[in-house]
Amino acid sequence: MEGRARGMTPEKDRIKVFGVLNHLGNQYDMLKITKKYPIKFYWLENNVRKWNKFSPRPAPETIYTKDEFEYVQYYEPGKYDIAMLHVDQQHVNPHIGKGYLYKQMNEIIQDIPKIVINHGTPMYAEMYDEETVINGGDTINSRGEKVHVKGMKELIGDNFMIVNSYEAAERWGWGYPIIHGMTADEWWDLPKEPRVTVMISPGGLDKYYNRQLLSAIKFKVKERTGIDVQHITVNYKAHDWDDYRDFLGRSLIYINPTLDSPMPRARTEAMLSGCCVLTSRYHGAEDFIQSGKNGFIMPDNPDSYAETINELVHKHYQETVAIGRRGKETAQKLFNVERYHKQLFKIIEKVANGQKPVWHGVDKIW
């Protein structure tokens, strides 16, 4: 399948995937699959998830042919082979906009198998406990009213669920993990400035992203080293994707204190950019990062981050650059787009044919 398809397959011979934009970075790399495998994506125009000229990745219509990708205005039964939808733990909140997008599309699409990519984990500490996120239950809203929350199990139903890390599959209790992949040469390894950078979403899911620790790290790093941690989207606003890649590519150190984000993409982007990564241990980080060799696994302690950063930036610049280079090699090997597309295509092909592959917990990429 892989060989015969390369970039030449006409639309009629492609697996027709109906879907919608969700996570821009994820889908930027996902759409590239159409260049190698016989897949065409049809994305619903909608007001909740939009890709436009200001988005930090080139728009699909500027990259793909009509045989590979197009926007559509509604779902047409009988036209597509499979649907690909997206959720995260916030979708169990009955009032959230992106939740409506998933729920309504899930209702409308009834004649084909559906893959649902679950980008999160059951951690939604600001709203619900994990049991409620997974299985649903009753909760009390801010007005003191009893509200029934549909858990992820009910939201997903019979759909096939993909998750982003092995630990996410364990935490949800089901789901097929596919670890992301990226095109290595799209990330720029540039001469490193003595800069410490982080790229974590600026709002929502505080515990999941461990923002309390991040705030403490920023404070301690400033206190110990005099360096302002550059938080992209917060105190450094990249103008576009090139600016983002340039800024990241010139950063000596990248920190990732997240508590539950399954395989943070920005960490991989930093590794591919040759940054020396200091990361929390969760979601398998310990399986591919060896402290002092190709990055650092850090305890959830701001003093540890501050002390390590001080040593690296002020006393061991050259060694830090070398660690970043080895981290880049690790990322090129593990998080390559070819492996990702191969795994994803295998799943799409099987689910489109009515199968539901089960992950047995052994087929890991490391």
Binding site: N47, V48, K53, F54, Q104, I108
Partner: protein, 285 residues
């Protein structure tokens, strides 16, 4: 024929928006083919209610089939990222509630712009108020941010000893505009807006005051609040002089009875449904 609405409520993920309730939900109760759009749904007719093309959202221009824009507020005055002209040019028809909006929007497009008034489910209203005794209480209702219009009316009410009920999403504390605000606060009552009790709350007063708006956006406003008050059986005053003519119960009753007979026919939302059906037929032909 499947008719679907993408509403202001859906677009902004809000609840209980007056314009969506009046111009969409009311009509859907009497229009079996019509309903709220669900993402991904195919419809023969899409009506975009205060949903416009923007730089990154073109569904109002791209949706196959009949496309209608329903706009009831001058959103272009304060929202720079909406493309009203592009939307008008790319739909088959536009619908507005007032002649001032029709005239203005028609001036910028060849797309037909028609008036479909804000109308109501008449059966939802209680029996019209039967007036007794002298005028004691006036009512005003609406969004709190529009309540400033009453600034000059408060001293007039104060002078006449008339109490004021304000029904709004938030308390605009209008008694502060009285000459003796401490004393007038005793005659001031704020009721939190609740659609379920709105009409009976209005009927707690003898008269409704709706001073003429002086702001730019008031030029475009529909008469929907006036009609709501009239369907509750209350005369509506714009000035103190009008109010002075309605002090006696008999005068108020004589004033409102013929108006009520007209508005209950003219502002029945079934009429809007028929107007939409006629418009769709016209567009299709």
């Amino acid at each position: 024929m499947v008719v679907r609405w993408q509403t202001f409520e859906q677009y902004h993920n809000k609840k209980d928006i007056g314009s969506t309730r009046i111009r969409v939900h009311n009509l859907n109760k009497f229009w079996p083919e019509s309903g709220l759009y669900r993402y991904g749904e195919k419809a023969d007719v899409m009506i975009f209610q205060k949903v416009y093309c923007t730089y990154d959202y073109k569904l109002p221009a791209h949706y196959p089939g009949v496309r209608i824009l329903d706009t009831c507020d001058p959103d272009w005055l304060q929202t720079p990222d909406i493309y009203i002209k592009e939307t008008l040019d790319n739909v088959h028809a536009a619908v507005v509630p007032t002649e001032s909006m029709r005239e203005y929007l028609q001036g910028m497009t060849d797309t037909p712009v028609r008036i479909i008034k804000d109308r109501f489910v008449i059966e939802d209203f209680p029996k019209p108020k039967v007036h007794n005794g002298e005028l004691k209480t006036a009512v005003w209702f609406g969004y709190a941010h529009n309540a400033e219009l009453l600034q000059s009316a408060i001293p007039s009410l104060e002078k006449r000893g008339i109490s004021l009920i304000v029904i709004a999403n938030d308390d605009p504390m209008l008694y502060r505009y009285a000459n003796d605000s401490v004393a007038y606060q005793e005659k001031y009552q704020y009721i939190k807006f609740n659609q379920d009790t709105l009409y009976t709350d209005i009927q707690k007063a003898d008269i409704c005051i709706m001073p003429k708006g002086y702001r730019h956006e008031d030029r475009w406003k529909s008469e929907n609040k006036t009609v709501i008050a009239q369907l509750c059986g209350l005369p509506v005053c714009q000035t103190a002089e009008e109010l002075d003519e309605l002090v006696e119960a008999e005068d108020r009753q004589k004033h409102i009875d013929p108006i009520y007979d007209i508005v209950k026919v003219e502002y029945d939302c079934r009429k809007s449904v028929q107007e939409y059906k006629d418009l769709i037929d016209e567009v299709k032909s």
